[in-house]
């Protein structure tokens, strides 16, 4: 076990998987000598060469599209979209092409492609870098969408993504890249998809979160505890496949639930959870499902992003109000 940041967990995984399997290659903008703008691929080109760690032309559609072809040819490409905000430039290749080639060939051509993309805000990026568009992708059949929140999961889930025979969108929390630090084994291991994690046990209210919002929920839970409100935090880890059982069990225990996401309200993944919870736990609910989200406005300039992304104070205030709703 070594204490690592999320970036280090990712780098460690890429290194070990490339070491282990010749077919794994890394492609993206600036992933070579620079090691990626977040250094997630640092040192890989030195070790594995320019054939396997490729600085690509600046064209997201071609990066993902070529990744599809490489995958069909028998390789295991891991492509990096520098920021998910620029995933729109590749959305047709991800959502329309990679996600349905298996279906469109009736099983003959799977696409074992990993698309890594940092997303979410809180680090004062320039415009268009910080959007949290996970719901667009979760709404795309054929795609697996995962969003680890810890270094342990980042390392183990990336290994799982590389082993997966289908395309995986691997979302990395911009904010947590270096801030989050936890124990992760040195050796290779995998963390399977579709199992949510109880990040904190509690009995009075459930906070559901994923990626960087998990840290917000955990901080809020500490503050709520100081107010005598015992919050449980469920961290999803993967959106597709979704572990509804863990969410359901937690809500059955607490009777109240707030979903915390960085993305805007309308049509977000929190809406999917709210609908699922009311469908599956209607009689256990003591109050309506609460969504704590960004407003339905574009991700703003850095000077006001703290107003935009839900923070612990907001979660505490909104959850306190939720607790006041009579059962």
């Amino acid at each position: 076990m070594t204490t690592r940041t999320i970036v280090e967990g990712i780098r460690d995984c890429l290194y070990q998987e490339m070491e282990h399997d010749e077919r794994v290659m890394v492609l993206g903008e600036d992933v070579g000598k620079l090691g990626g703008v977040f250094r997630a691929t640092e040192g890989l080109q030195d070790r594995f060469g320019t054939e396997r760690v490729v600085d690509m032309p600046l064209a997201e559609g071609a990066i993902v599209g070529a990744g599809i072809g490489l995958a069909v040819s028998g390789l295991r490409p891991v492509v990096e979209i520098q920021f998910l905000g620029f995933g729109h430039q590749a959305f047709h290749q991800i959502g329309q092409q990679a996600a349905r080639l298996r279906y469109r060939s009736q099983g003959t051509h799977g696409v074992p492609l990993v698309i890594r993309a940092p997303f979410g805000g809180g680090v004062r990026t320039p415009e268009l870098h910080s959007d949290a568009f996970e719901a667009l992708y979760a709404h795309t059949p054929g795609l697996t969408v995962v969003a680890p929140a810890t270094a342990y999961d980042a390392k183990g889930m990336l290994a799982e993504a590389i082993a997966c025979d289908d395309p995986v969108l691997f979302l990395e929390p911009l904010k947590g890249y270096r801030l989050v630090r936890d124990e992760a084994p040195d050796e290779r291991y995998r963390v399977g998809f579709g199992r949510a994690r109880i990040a904190r046990e509690g009995s009075a209210v459930t906070l559901v979160a994923w990626s960087a919002a998990t840290q917000v929920a955990l901080r809020a839970a500490d503050e709520l505890a100081a107010k005598g409100i015992d919050a449980e935090v469920v961290e999803l880890r993967s959106l597709v496949p979704l572990d509804t059982a863990t969410v359901r069990d937690s809500v059955a225990k607490t009777g109240r639930v707030a979903v915390v996401q960085e993305a805007p309200l309308t049509g977000g993944f929190a809406a999917e959870l709210a609908a699922t919870i009311q469908q599956e736990c209607f009689y256990e609910l003591e109050a309506p499902v609460l969504r704590i989200t960004a407003p339905d406005t574009p991700y703003p300039l850095a000077g006001v992003e703290d107003l935009y992304v839900p923070d612990a104070d907001r979660v505490v205030a909104e959850v306190a109000a939720l607790m006041a709703v009579p059962a």
């Binding site: 064209a59 599209g65 469109r104």
Partner: protein, 330 residues
């Protein structure tokens, strides 16, 4: 091309034309969905495909290249199933080196480059030939792909069929570039223009491009100048935009007639030979249509199978619910 190879090419051209005619009439009867015919472009499509070795080369198609895919090993009944709306029609048998028909214009191009690149990286000498149209060449994917192919040297042959139209938009409205092949040089890629209604010429330039790619000398963009003799698809009405005089001129260059004239002049086939070929093709089309009609479609599983290698629990639950509903349990 040897005489045998030309006869073989003529067989695929005739097969496509026979299928086209049947497909159009079946669409009118409501038994086929929307269908895009290859009529007029057979020499272009088949001439290019005839240079490939199906045991190692790949075709990454658009949607108008049925005879090329047939030659590469896709069963004719799969096309019939596809246009009957049966998901079984999208199946690609193992070992058939093609991607599915592409509907999203130009989206296949970066995939072709990646595939070619991957084959090369794994030590093979397979080449990828990808088809697309003049309309598709305005998409960003075209430019991104040509650029990437140039940079990587991936053994890709970009086969642009300039058939004069993107539905009703004429070539002149698509781009101000004097030739489409001329764009290749901007990406460090070889570019050539060929008479797409001349089977032998298409075969020749494509063979050179394939050899070059196989030898590791890089990608080529071929602009095949041809003419879409029919409508864009069965939902289209070209009389609204095509000048009948121009259509008439092109009909004099009909690729099938040209090949027949050539084979006749060389004494390889005569009327009896052409008739026999036509009868074989008609029989093959009828057989495929019969097989396709007998393929069951209406099962709920066909919605769910082959979406994921291991489906997520929600998809598993939904599949069970759909099956139960179909069986009348719900």
């Amino acid at each position: 091309m040897t005489d045998d190879a030309v006869v073989d090419a003529l067989r695929y051209m005739t097969l496509a034309r026979t299928f086209d005619d049947r497909a159009t009439s079946l669409q009118r009867q409501g038994r086929f969905g929307t269908f895009s015919s290859v009529r007029g472009q057979e020499a272009s499509v088949v001439g290019a495909a005839s240079t490939l070795d199906p045991s190692k080369d790949w075709i990454v198609p658009q949607y108008r290249e049925l005879p090329a895919l047939l030659r590469h090993g896709l069963p004719l009944e799969n096309f019939a199933r596809y246009f009957m709306g049966n998901p079984a029609g999208t199946a690609i048998p193992d070992g058939v080196r093609t991607l599915p028909i592409q509907i999203s214009l130009a989206a296949q191009l970066p995939q072709a480059v990646g595939l070619a690149w991957g084959l090369r990286r794994q030590g093979g000498d397979g080449v990828v030939l990808t088809y697309f149209g003049d309309g598709a060449s305005s998409e960003g994917d075209f430019h991104e792909s040509l650029n990437l192919a140039g940079v990587t040297g991936a053994p890709t042959v970009f086969f642009l069929q300039n058939n004069g139209w993107a539905i009703s938009t004429p070539r002149a409205a698509q781009t101000a570039a004097p030739t489409l092949a001329g764009r290749a040089s901007g990406y460090g890629v070889e570019g050539v223009v060929v008479d797409g209604n001349d089977l032998l010429a298409v075969h020749q330039v494509t063979a050179e491009a394939v050899d070059r790619a196989r030898a590791g000398a890089g990608p080529t963009l071929i602009e095949s100048l041809t003419w879409r003799a029919g409508a864009h698809n069965t939902a289209d009405d070209p009389t609204r935009y095509v000048d009948p005089g121009v259509a008439e001129e092109w009909s004099e260059r009909d690729p099938v007639t040209r090949v027949q004239r050539y084979l006749r002049a060389r004494g390889v086939l005569d009327d009896t030979g052409f008739d026999r070929l036509a009868a074989q093709c008609a029989a093959e089309v009828e057989r495929a249509l019969a097989v396709a009609s007998e393929t069951p479609t209406a099962c709920a599983e066909s919605l769910f199978d082959h979406v994921y290698a291991s489906p997520p629990p929600r998809v598993v639950q939904q599949r069970a619910a759909w099956t139960a509903r179909q069986e009348g349990a719900i």
